[in-house]
């Protein structure tokens, strides 16, 4: 099992669920927390109790989603590495409050979730989920776990990958590798297969879709091509049902479903209907609107399939494009591995099977396979095994904005990583010492249609006449799909300094600050926890004392009984109104000492009763 230094766990940080796994020589297993009772599948839901300030993760948080819609945060993954401006409709659909993070510098746009008067960034929220998984692993091993491999959708861009890495750091985890989810799934799937295979991995999760084509040969897992959509998943299917109900409730009853609690409830109903329709031919959706009004609607499987078909068609288009990029035809594909909870839907399996002319492989639990693969990759990095190697590609083209606002591609999509490209820049004005470069990611021709990863500013260029400096800028995409930029001025030989201003991400300093804060935050959470415990203790002790006074009060002088009753009431009032845990604790102790004579009298009386 090893010690904390060489333990690396694999984590699937999902839109809907998150898991942690570990692999040794025998193979990968999911790490469970028996106390949580979720079978190792932690719902990616974070609950903030507005009264106690307590933070809950997973099932418990999800259970309070309807009661506390504004302070229950789910689907954070959809917000990772994205600006408030490019969230668009998503903001209105989420019951919790998404804001533009206050204090953003000019040119930077980071989304945040406002909860309990604090604006928390998606990496901070994801860090809470990661910290919970870290704790699970530590409980399992009995020693600290500080390193992890975390998976991301293959189609995540640089900002989204960076945000995932930041989340790890905030949670106190060194992210040794970011692995693409379909690649991880193939790793788990193909581990024990000796033959040469061409495999498609179709990964339809809660919020994202990915497809990858890979070749398994001589222990290498080579990704040939990948395609996907970071905004397509099971959540969209739920929303189809929600939209139907919202529309019909308005038509029939003239009622607008707007309250966050109702929307949250409807979302859970819709999810349940979707899940039921995987095994049943029809399901009734029922919403009690109050005042004796009840919306009832039978949804048949055929109707549901009609609703989701356009989305499935989009995934199949992605499959066709990726297949073409890999130079494959459907007949070349030996197996299709299905990953993600949404591939449980029979209609999805049917359409995918039709496209590839084969029955999709569904023997693995689609919710677990990514985490298991991440654990295998972790074991490779930990040096446990050297017989397996992953060769992945970059999902998106990388380029720079050229004069006239076009996208000049430097690294094309589906190129094997690590990869690099060098471009030479110069100055336009005499004595110019800074050059600004807008780095873009995407497949479109115009810079405006691509995603800006940020503006890189070359500083410290030696002053020379315009056009004289020759600055070689090297863009390197590493094995994690993460970009680094270096620059070198040819004539002077100086290394030009590079300042990275991520447009949708956090700066290194911010991440470090959040890392420190998260420790303080955890302490604050502990304080809240202790307060709840102390208050419960106060209620328990004072009730007990009152019961004793009723039963044995006659054994003590009347004024002493009076004083005890008053002290109990005072203590309760103080505990309810104060959050000073130290003082509550002190007063509770003092109250305990006051009740000693009563307790002694009560014990003596009980003993006497026993003798009689």
């Amino acid at each position: 099992m090893g010690d904390s230094k060489d333990t690396i766990v694999g984590i699937d940080l999902g839109t809907t669920n998150s898991l942690v796994a570990y692999a040794d020589e025998k193979g990968p297993v999911i790490i469970e927390d028996p106390a949580a009772g979720d079978g190792g599948i932690l719902p990616s839901v974070i609950g903030f109790d507005p009264e106690s300030g307590r933070v809950t993760i997973g099932r418990q948080a999800r259970a309070h989603a309807v009661e506390l819609p504004l302070t229950t945060v789910y689907s954070v993954k959809r917000l990772m590495g994205r600006g408030f401006a490019d969230l668009g409709d998503d903001v209105g659909r989420l019951p919790y409050k998404v804001v533009r993070r206050p204090g953003n510098e000019e040119g930077r746009d980071v989304a945040a979730v406002e909860v309990g008067g604090r604006a928390l960034t998606p990496p901070q929220l994801s860090a809470l989920i990661l910290a919970e998984l870290k704790t699970r692993a530590e409980k399992h091993f009995g020693h600290p776990v500080n390193r992890a491999v975390i998976t991301v959708p293959a189609y995540f861009d640089d900002a989204q990958r960076q945000a995932t890495r930041d989340a790890g750091q905030i949670a106190g985890l060194e992210v040794v590798r970011i692995v693409n989810e379909p690649t991880a799934a193939a790793l788990a799937y193909g581990l024990d297969r000796k033959e040469d295979l061409t495999v498609a991995v179709y990964d339809l999760g809660g919020g994202t879709f990915d497809v990858s084509f890979m070749r398994l040969r001589e222990g290498t897992f080579e990704v040939l091509s990948t395609h996907g959509d970071t905004h397509l998943g099971g959540d969209d299917f739920d929303r189809q049902i929600m939209d139907l109900a919202t529309r019909e409730v308005k038509e029939r009853f003239g009622v607008e479903i707007q309250a966050p609690a109702t929307r949250q409830a409807l979302r859970l109903f819709a999810e349940a209907v979707k899940q039921a329709l995987s095994s049943e031919a029809q399901k009734t959706l029922q919403i009690d609107l109050g005042d004796g009004r009840c919306y009832q609607r039978v949804i048949t499987r055929a109707e549901f399939e009609g609703m989701i078909d356009p989305y499935i068609e989009r995934t199949l288009d992605s499959c066709r494009q990726a297949m073409r990029a890999a130079g494959l035809t459907a007949g070349d594909v030996d197996h299709v591995v299905m990953v993600g909870g949404s591939t449980r839907i029979p209609h999805v399996r049917q359409r995918v099977g039709d496209l590839f002319e084969c029955r999709p492989y569904t023997a693995w639990n689609p919710e677990e396979v990514v985490a298991l693969g991440a654990a295998v990759q972790a074991s490779i990095l930990a040096g446990v095994r050297r017989d397996v190697l992953l060769l992945d590609v970059t999902p998106l083209s990388l380029g720079i904005e050229t004069l006239g606002g076009a996208m000049g591609k430097l690294i094309r999509n589906n190129m094997r990583v690590p990869c690099q490209a060098t471009e030479t820049f110069t100055t336009f004005q005499d004595g110019q010492t800074n050059v600004k470069i807008n780095v873009l990611q995407g497949e479109r021709e115009l810079a405006a249609d691509c995603r800006s990863l940020g503006v890189f500013e070359l500083t410290g260029v030696p002053p020379m006449p315009a056009g004289m400096p020759k600055i070689d800028v090297t863009f390197l995409i590493d094995q994690n799909g993460i970009l680094t930029v270096t620059a070198h001025e040819q004539r002077s030989g100086t290394e030009a300094g590079i300042q990275v201003v991520p447009a949708h991400g956090l700066t290194r300093d911010e991440v470090r600050r959040m890392e420190r804060e998260s420790v303080a935050f955890a302490r604050q959470d502990m304080t809240a926890h202790r307060l709840v415990d102390l208050r419960n203790q106060v209620v328990f002790d004072t009730n007990k004392t009152e019961q004793m006074l009723t039963k044995h009060g006659d054994l003590l002088p009347a004024e002493e009984c009076q004083a005890l009753r008053r002290a109990a009431a005072d203590l309760r009032q103080y505990a309810d109104s104060s959050s000073d845990t130290e003082e509550i604790h002190r007063r509770l102790q003092e109250f305990g000492r006051m009740t000693v004579p009563l307790a002694n009298a009560a014990i003596s009386a009980t003993l006497r009763e026993d003798k009689d």
């Binding site: 590798r177 190697l389 690099q420």
Partner: protein
């Protein structure tokens, strides 16, 4: 040509095994700095020829990758990790170029000296008019799958013919005359037109 480069040792400095690649020892995993200049053929210890066994190339690529991939250097010094990333990036690029017939021919042409195909721009007018005609036919065939398939077949056939001629000219560029190089440049530019056309055809 870079095959005579003196800076790269032929035996591993650390374990004395024969080096199967100038960037790494496949015996003891010792990494070597990126050779200057970097020769893609030399990287795989292959002769500078156009005709290449793709299966053998893949095998060599995987064997070298297994020794330089950064995943195997987790926990090593930062410098070592960075070198592994750098070498892997160069290796990936070399493999990409040598695997692709057009890129491979272009690379050989560049190595042999003189202008590159893209600097030359030359394309025979007959190619331009044929591509234009095919494009028009394709537009007319909009929605008609059999007609589109017929265009596709012809484009594939034309590309195949040009590639055959490229292979003949590019295999022994060291002994080729200027005239052959000029023809090769024009062929390399021509084949791109057919490849672009193929990329525009609907996925099928």
């Amino acid at each position: 040509m870079a095959s005579t480069d003196q800076t790269v040792p032929s035996k591993c400095l650390s374990c004395s095994a024969e080096l199967e690649s100038p960037i790494v020892c496949t015996g003891c995993h010792k990494l070597y700095p990126v050779p200057e200049p970097l020769d893609y053929f030399e990287l795989f210890r292959l002769p500078h020829r156009y005709r290449i066994d793709l299966g053998d190339l893949e095998h060599r690529f995987l064997a070298i990758t297994r020794n330089v991939h950064p995943d195997f250097f987790t926990g090593h010094s930062e410098d070592m990790c960075r070198l592994a990333v750098r070498l892997s990036a160069e290796l990936n690029e070399a493999y990409r170029v040598l695997k692709d017939p057009v890129l491979r021919a272009g690379y050989l042409l560049e190595q042999s000296g003189g202008r590159s195909a893209s600097e030359d721009h030359s394309v025979p007018p007959s190619v331009l008019s044929e591509v234009m005609m095919l494009r028009e036919e394709l537009e007319a065939a909009e929605g008609d799958q059999t007609a589109a398939a017929s265009v596709r077949r012809r484009v594939v056939a034309r590309r195949g013919e040009i590639l055959t001629r490229i292979a003949e000219l590019a295999d022994d560029l060291a002994n080729a005359g200027d005239e052959d190089k000029t023809t090769l440049r024009s062929l390399l530019n021509s084949v791109k037109y057919y490849e672009n056309l193929l990329a525009e055809l609907p996925v099928g």
